[in-house]
């Protein structure tokens, strides 16, 4: 065990993967010598050479196109998109190519070795081009896996799973926590399961679902609710696609109430799918409607970041609305 922040945990996972299998390569804008603008790939070029850790030209559609080809060839490319906000030029390569590669060929070819890493989310004074939470844009895409860690321990274990998972994985890292989240992380290899949620805290009165950096926000909100005597259950989805319906449904059948707290703008954020599915699965158990605490339906603002954000207070209020319905 060692104390690591989230960036160090990501770096450690990459280091282990590259050491383990020489078909693992790591690339993206400024990823080489500089180690990436957040330094997640620090030291990897020195250790594994310029052929396996390298800068790319500034072209996201190319990064993913290239990575698709490399994965089809049998490699395990780990491609970095510098900010989640800049993943959209690669949308076609991801949604039409990565996700459909195996299916369309009848399994003659696949890009299962591909992992796409990108930092997401707000809270860093980034305005709407350095703060987006784009998971929902990708969650309508069968063939992709989407994973979002909430802390260093998860980041390392989930990233190692993602890299060697036989399916392409979009791995969204909460950049607000890159240095802020510090925790005990095993130095050696370990993996955490994809597609499985984690019950972060058991409770009986209401279920709160979140993922990534939002789980921390939920914990604060639940602490407030606790003072009112509310015993909430917290579930971290960890995977957005495929997502763990059973764990959430089971919890809601127990608590009878569900709140989803999410960073992205309200309409068509992933909480919509959670709400739609759970109201169907748990209809007879629900004592109040599924509540969503979300961002406002605007681009992510700069000056009004605090006001836009679905913070612990708004989540706390949603919990109260759920309980007092």
């Amino acid at each position: 065990m060692a104390k690591m922040n989230l960036l160090q945990a990501v770096n450690s996972a990459l280091d282990i993967a590259m050491a383990k299998n020489d078909k693992v390569s790591v690339f993206g804008e400024d990823v080489g010598h500089f180690g990436g603008v957040f330094r997640a790939t620090s030291g990897l070029q020195e250790k594994y050479g310029r052929e396996r850790c390298f800068n790319t030209p500034l072209v996201e559609q190319g990064i993913i196109g290239f990575a698709n080809g490399l994965a089809a060839q049998g490699s395990f490319p780990v491609a970095e998109i510098q900010f989640g906000d800049y993943i959209f030029p690669a949308f076609d390569q991801i949604v039409n190519e990565t996700a459909k590669f195996r299916y369309r060929s009848g399994n003659e070819f696949n890009v299962g070795g591909l992992t796409i890493r990108t930092p997401y989310g707000g809270g860093i004074h980034g305005g709407h081009y350095h703060s987006q939470s784009p998971e929902a844009y990708f969650a309508h895409t069968p063939g992709l896996k989407i994973v979002m860690p909430r802390n260093p321990y998860q980041a390392k274990g989930l990233l190692l799973s993602a890299i060697f998972d036989p399916n392409p994985v979009l791995f969204l890292e909460p950049k607000r926590l890159y240095r802020a989240a510090v925790g005990e992380v095993p130095e050696d290899e370990y993996t955490l399961p994809l597609g499985k949620a984690e019950v972060v805290k058991e409770g009986t009165d209401v279920t709160i679902v979140g993922w990534g950096a939002q789980v921390e926000v939920i914990e604060k909100a639940v602490a407030l609710a606790e003072k009112d005597g509310v015993n909430a259950e917290i579930i971290d989805l960890r995977s957005i696609l495929p997502w763990d319906v059973d764990t959430v449904a089971e919890s809601v059948m127990k608590t009878g109430r569900l709140v989803v707290s999410q960073e992205a703008p309200h309409t068509m954020a992933f909480g919509s799918e959670v709400a739609a599915t759970i109201q169907e699965k748990c209809f007879l158990y629900l004592e109040s409607p599924v509540m969503r605490a979300s961002g406002i339906d605007t681009p992510y603002p700069l000056a009004h970041e605090k006001e836009y954000f679905s913070d612990h207070l708004k989540t706390y209020e949603a919990i109260k609305r759920s309980l007092n319905y």
Binding site: V59, G62, G65, G69, L70, A72, D92, Y103, G106, E108
Partner: protein, 394 residues
């Protein structure tokens, strides 16, 4: 530390405007339209067996295209796309590379695939989306692919295979296996952003890719003159610091030699190369359009005399390797084979309904399994509404 980053350029105090067409790119041709060889031209080494295989493949593809176009018109398949007039470009280039080189095609390179050994049954099963189709009936007709033949399954979105080829070739280079990737695309697809990405990345990483552009003058109805203002595709290579060759795409010997040279450069000099093969799409874009709406009969006639198959046949006849009669006999044999295969494929059932959820992930998700179960339940209830699969649902 990075090395000196700004190109060394000479300085001028006189304002120099580089003209819009600064590079002059001639077209390489060995066989004249009448099938005779240009005086003084040095032909590539090509033995009789290979030459006849190339010719035979041309014939097969021409026959297949003609028959399947007709089959679409008869309503037996839903869609077809012919490579009429462009057989030399795909077959000549495929013949010039190693079987272990990867081919990534656009969709009009059935010649390359046939040359690699895709059988008439393989073609038919894909065209009929039946349960023997390697692609499990998931894509429209002509989206072939075969891992065994190192021929990447075709994808409809244009240009996407171009940066993929750079990545694939980079993997080949890292593996040190002395193979390259040949990637085909049309002059229309070369307008996509992915073209820019793929060529630039391959040049930067010195990935062994042969970028093979079939400039056939049209993207559906859009003439090349409305696709770009430059002198075709070849001069773009200079912008990426890449070598380029322009070749007559209707001259299979020139295509063969140009591709051999490109492969040599890719693997021996360790650099990608751009080939632009000049040709003409003799047929419509696909069974979905009628070219008389956007081009003249005269224009088509001008190109008909440049036909690549007739040209090659004349050369073969000149060598004494082929006769008109033998050619006609071969053609007849292809016809029989194609018709027989067509009839056979037509009766092969659709893929089993269980395949509806496979290969999306390596194994189906729980939700997909539930969806399949619900679907089967539903089909059991309404078997008549799902005739292609109801029989397979117990």
């Amino acid at each position: 530390m990075a090395k000196e980053t700004t190109p060394k350029t000479q300085i001028t105090s006189e304002l120099t405007v580089i003209p819009a067409h600064a590079v002059n790119i001639p077209m390489f041709q060995l066989l004249k339209e009448d099938g005779t060889v240009h005086k003084g031209a040095a032909l590539p080494e090509i033995d009789k067996e290979l030459a006849l295989k190339m010719f035979n493949t041309m014939q097969f593809i021409r026959l297949l295209d003609e028959r399947m176009f007709a089959a679409q018109r008869q309503g037996r398949i839903s869609f077809y796309l012919s490579s009429l007039g462009e057989e030399a470009a795909s077959i000549g280039s495929a013949a010039a590379i190693d079987f272990n080189d990867m081919i990534m095609s656009q969709y009009r390179e059935q010649g390359a695939l046939a040359f690699r050994g895709f059988t008439v049954d393989d073609f038919m099963n894909q065209l009929f989306s039946n349960e023997l189709d390697l692609g499990k009936g998931r894509q429209m007709p002509v989206h072939y692919g075969s891992a065994a033949l190192n021929f990447m399954t075709i994808s409809s979105p244009l240009g996407t295979q171009i940066p993929q080829a750079a990545g694939y070739a980079y993997g080949q280079k890292l593996d040190g296996n002395k193979n390259c990737t040949l990637v085909y695309f049309g002059e229309g697809a070369a307008s996509e952003g992915d073209f820019h990405a793929g060529l630039n990345m391959a040049a930067v990483y010195k990935a062994p890719v042969i970028f093979f552009c079939r400039n056939n003058g049209y993207a559906i109805s859009t003439p090349a003159t409305e696709q770009f203002a430059g002198d075709g595709i070849a001069p773009r290579a200079t912008g990426y610091g890449m070598k380029a060759i322009r070749v007559d795409g209707n001259d299979i010997l020139a295509v063969y030699q140009a591709t051999q040279e490109a492969r040599r450069i890719a693997l021996e000099e360790g650099e990608p190369v751009l080939i632009e093969a000049m040709s003409y799409r003799m047929a419509g874009h696909s069974t979905s359009d009628d070219p008389s709406g956007y081009r003249t009969k005269e224009e088509e006639a001008k190109w008909r005399v440049k036909d690549p198959m007739a040209r090659f046949q004349k050369w073969l006849e000149g060598k004494g390797w082929m006769t008109e009669e033998a050619a006609a006999e071969q053609m007849e044999a292809h016809k029989k084979a194609v018709l027989a295969a067509l009839k056979k494929a037509e009766t092969v059932p659709a893929p089993h309904i269980d395949e509806i959820i496979t290969d999306v992930y390596d194994t189906p998700t729980q939700l997909q399994k539930e969806q399949l179960e619900a679907l089967k339940e539903h089909i059991r209830k309404y078997p008549d509404a799902y005739p292609a699969t109801a029989a397979g649902v117990k």
